[in-house]
Symmetry: C2
Subunit: 197 residues, 2 copies
């Protein structure tokens, strides 16, 4: 069987390998990410991952894509009731849900942080992540405007900045941001970033 057929023939296994790569990144750091560690994590025979990914960069970038895809999947299930007023309360509610989704996908976010650091060392990873984050921010601005939410494009970018670091604190130093206080921190961030009502 051709290499390309193997790849196409088993997308579920490919996904399982990428998910194992995310767990390895979070648990052991970027330098711990080897084909062997991924095979072990996925519980597949040694040599399997090397049939699915041409090299380590491909594994790294697909891990990043997978984290974004899973987070966006959660976001796409959001629907807004037509009669909900587009006010700060609604934006708070949306942002609380978004941050909760990210914090609950703990290993995904930690893997993305590892990829950010790996981006300082590997141009291929840097290019893919740059495009992905830029597209993600642009898409957030479009959604914000389509939903007629309060604030503007700068609000969206500042929410992205402030809430990403809040997640860093919550996941890496939980003594600093207690889980019980997380929603209140998110609400405060939104309220301060919006123009006064």
């Amino acid at each position: 069987m051709e290499w390309s057929q193997v790849v196409r023939s088993n997308p579920a296994r490919r996904t399982a390998l990428v998910d194992a790569a995310i767990e390895v990144l979070a648990a052991q750091g970027a330098r711990g990410l080897t084909f062997r560690a991924v095979d072990e994590g996925a519980g597949v025979p040694a040599g399997t991952a090397s049939n699915y990914f041409r090299n380590r960069d491909e594994l790294l970038t697909q891990a990043g894509e997978r984290v974004y895809a899973r987070l966006l999947e959660g976001a796409s299930q959001l629907t807004l009731p037509d009669d909900a007023p587009r006010d700060r309360d609604l934006l708070v509610q949306l942002m609380v849900g978004t941050v909760r989704r990210i914090v609950d996908y703990r290993t995904g976010f930690l893997a993305l942080l590892e990829l950010r650091l790996e981006a300082t060392r590997r141009e291929g990873v840097r290019d893919v992540l740059t495009d992905r984050v830029r597209a993600d921010l642009a898409s957030n601005v479009v959604t914000h405007e389509q939903w007629s939410m309060p604030g503007d494009a700068v609000t969206v970018r500042l929410l992205y900045q402030a809430l990403n670091w809040l997640v860093v604190d919550a996941l890496t130093l939980p003594g600093l941001v207690d889980d019980a206080d997380l929603d209140a921190y998110v609400a405060e961030t939104v309220e301060r970033l919006l123009p006064a009502p």
Copy 2:
């Protein structure tokens, strides 16, 4: 000579080893940080670092302390002219200077990010970093109030959140935040976080 005397006798060498550890963390990640790598980075005979640090945790936490110490050293040199109005322009100027100082100490900030990830794996690192960040934030609030700057404790925390992630973007994905635009991003962050004048 006793171990403790060796340590006391050569503080300059100790600092050189900690600085080498910061460079190793930034270049190779937390898993690359071994006594051997530090000895090599500092250009000292193999076995030197193991005479200065009891274990890897001690090396990691001292690297973190050193980054904070160097950044605070820069901050402590700031003086405000008595007649400067305590307004948003002054706060913008201070924050632009602070972010520039952090971005210029590129390997220091990247090493701190590595330590944040290592904190998810090592309780000792987590405890030291939690205390350090908490103390740093509290001290920022005190300075903010002593200097009668606009905004309150929440402003200080949100500046910390939003500007830290801005630095993450600037250092890991420079295509996203061009260096020439960095000061403008900082200014915008401050202006949006302060109550309207």
